[in-house]
Symmetry: C2
């Protein structure tokens, strides 16, 4: 298949490109390197060193004997995306070209606006490009389980759900409640995609995951193929940050009580799921909501798990500290079990490996880069507060 990845230079974008190439698909990508710039804007860097795109593509050619197409550019530029879609005629467009950090979106008004404008503009450009060029192109969009908040009902894996309101039965869009401007931009994206589906019959997969963790996939067979790995307070997701902290003897920084539940998925399992969704697109004109998470854990459970693995790999038990939670989020008594049916039907339900084993691999991967990580350790502590 021909796959166009928007945001191919990112954590998931690059890892997905490798998997698709390895499986014999044709891959084309667009990126404006915004994440690289924004990460260095806050004085941080990927903990694992990554090559320039030119060198990445060269490395892929050497290892897999396949050529990845690449256009440097911004998906908020409509003419660019329309031209690339028109010329390349992909079967699927994977849309990762969004600002993906909740703390970044909460820094101040300019970061809030950047997040909202960038994310909604890119999504509007994608749907219009597909509408203009070929309505049958499958759009696979990265959302987040964070769009739902923590409702009392079990979150259905569907765009719509039956609800009784004021004594009347109706079909409504599954209710959402986000916890940052970043998460709201994803909620709005989902509405935009759903409207485009109803209005123009576009074929869409709206894919929702929780935090991803992991330093590699089975395709990352040399250091030259590394995907980026962020560890600071703004760009690093929680388990990735815990592992980096452990490697340099920094306490594991849990926000608040640590009772917050998240649906975690490893990078390996994420890429496997995305590939299955690309290879098994929805019907023409279908809007397919997909939930993906492997283990629902509290932050405390994750910290304990990293602590145990650190003892095994690093020979010491890191301290666990609880910091005042900079976010505004519910911390306790959370029902959290979003429905999953699409991926299991595609045979995607088994963990590649247990979380403990994945964390062991992560610590081993990060250990050689301890000096690099140590330079960034001032960035572990959260600086962006949701409330003044």
């Amino acid at each position: 298949m021909k796959v166009l990845i928007l945001g191919i230079d990112g954590y998931l974008g690059w890892a997905l490109a490798l998997r698709l190439v390895k499986k014999g698909h044709e891959v084309m990508g667009i990126d404006n390197f915004y994440t690289r710039k924004a990460v260095s804007e806050i004085g941080s860097d990927s903990a694992l060193p990554i090559l320039s795109m030119q060198d990445r593509i060269r490395a892929v050619e050497e290892v897999f004997g396949a050529k990845i197409g690449f256009v440097e550019g911004d998906v908020t530029n409509y003419e660019l995306i329309r031209k690339v879609v028109d010329k390349y005629r992909p079967d699927t467009i994977v849309h990762f070209a969004e600002q993906r950090s909740a703390p970044y979106s909460m820094m101040d008004v300019e970061h809030a606006k950047y997040t909202m404008i960038n994310n909604l503009t890119s999504t509007l450009n994608v749907i219009y490009a597909v509408k203009e060029v070929n309505k049958k192109i499958h759009i696979l969009k990265m959302g987040t389980l964070g769009e739902y908040g923590y409702p009392a009902f079990r979150i259905p894996e569907d765009a719509f759900v039956e609800a009784v309101i004021q004594g009347v039965k109706d079909r409504i869009v599954v209710p959402k409640w986000a916890g940052s401007w970043y998460h709201w931009s994803k909620v709005f994206d989902s509405y935009i995609l759903l409207y485009a589906n109803r209005l123009w019959g576009l074929t869409i997969t709206d894919f929702h995951q929780g935090p991803v963790y992991g330093t590699r996939t089975s395709d990352i067979v040399t250091e030259e193929l590394f995907t980026r790995f962020d560890i600071d307070d703004v760009w690093g997701t929680v388990i990735n940050r815990f592992c980096a902290e452990a490697v340099v003897g920094h306490p594991l920084t849990v926000y608040g009580s640590g009772l917050q539940k998240k649906g975690f998925t490893s990078l390996e399992d994420t890429i496997t799921a995305l590939t299955a969704l690309i290879e098994n697109p929805p019907e023409d004109g279908e809007f397919r909501t997909v939930h993906h998470y492997r283990e629902i854990k509290t932050l405390n459970e994750m910290a304990e798990l990293v602590k145990r693995a650190a003892k095994e790999v690093l020979g010491y038990e890191p301290e666990i500290v609880h910091l005042p939670n900079p976010r505004v989020e519910p911390e306790e008594d959370l029902l959290y079990e979003p429905e999953k049916k699409v991926l299991p039907k595609l045979g995607i339900y088994r963990l590649t490996r247990a979380m403990e084993d994945e964390v062991v691999i992560m610590l081993k991967d990060l250990k050689p880069y301890a000096d690099r990580i140590r330079k960034m350790q001032a960035l572990f502590r959260p600086r962006v507060k949701w409330r003044d």
Copy 2:
């Protein structure tokens, strides 16, 4: 009270400024004259001639002996809005500074993006400016009843509602479903405001109306005080367009079956309601949803009403034509009765005058400008289609 009107040059903005000044309030406004530019972009103009802002302010001084403050600028510029709020310290900010046409938002990808970016950016700037300067400033935001779509349940006048989903009772944001990018931008605005209320305790009135009609309010006592009046397919709301069509002997252009129901409100009643909401703000930190409409009518009923009034004022009965509906909207069997409780409690429930009488005034107001309107009559027919 001190009131800052964002979008003071618009149809409602200007009419509200006049009412507030007349009632002895201090008024300050911001506008970038975007509507003037965008209306001329499609070759149209206000059917009633309006003065420049400089001359408008002079006319107000002559008629009411009061000075309106004005800053030309764009509310998407955060520094501008923050400085004005900081310097002027209003009790209430009325936020009209949004792209307000559904067809305009559906013209193409650039108009879709402009609408989304402009509207969400201005709203984010307003909430951040209030958060930074003084959280107690009341934000009164113009939304639309179109945010709700046409649900089966009676639309509650609240941000949240109880719902039973998958057998579980929960409190959810009142479900919404918009019918254009413009309407979606308003839905997203409402979420942004609600989140700002929950996160920072901002005091907000989220005001939802249907289409407004009318050439004047009781404060528009000379032609120099006219507010703008749009009549083309993009900027003119339906009754206003019908009246302009009647004045030049053009058939009344009903979209589709004409069975679409809307909650109409006259300009006079709109301004009275807005003034009451400004003079009676919510409690500190309250989020107040307000619905306002006076008569729920189908488009066919409105066309018939204009036809009858035309016979009385103009001495002839215009033809009514049904055009293929350029919009995608449900046309039949619509339950449509959003709850109203806030404004009646403030004593705002009586019509200033019957619709028939208002339409008679409109036709009389427009008649002297028939030649001006005739030049624009090619613009009555809809050119923007929701689907290709």
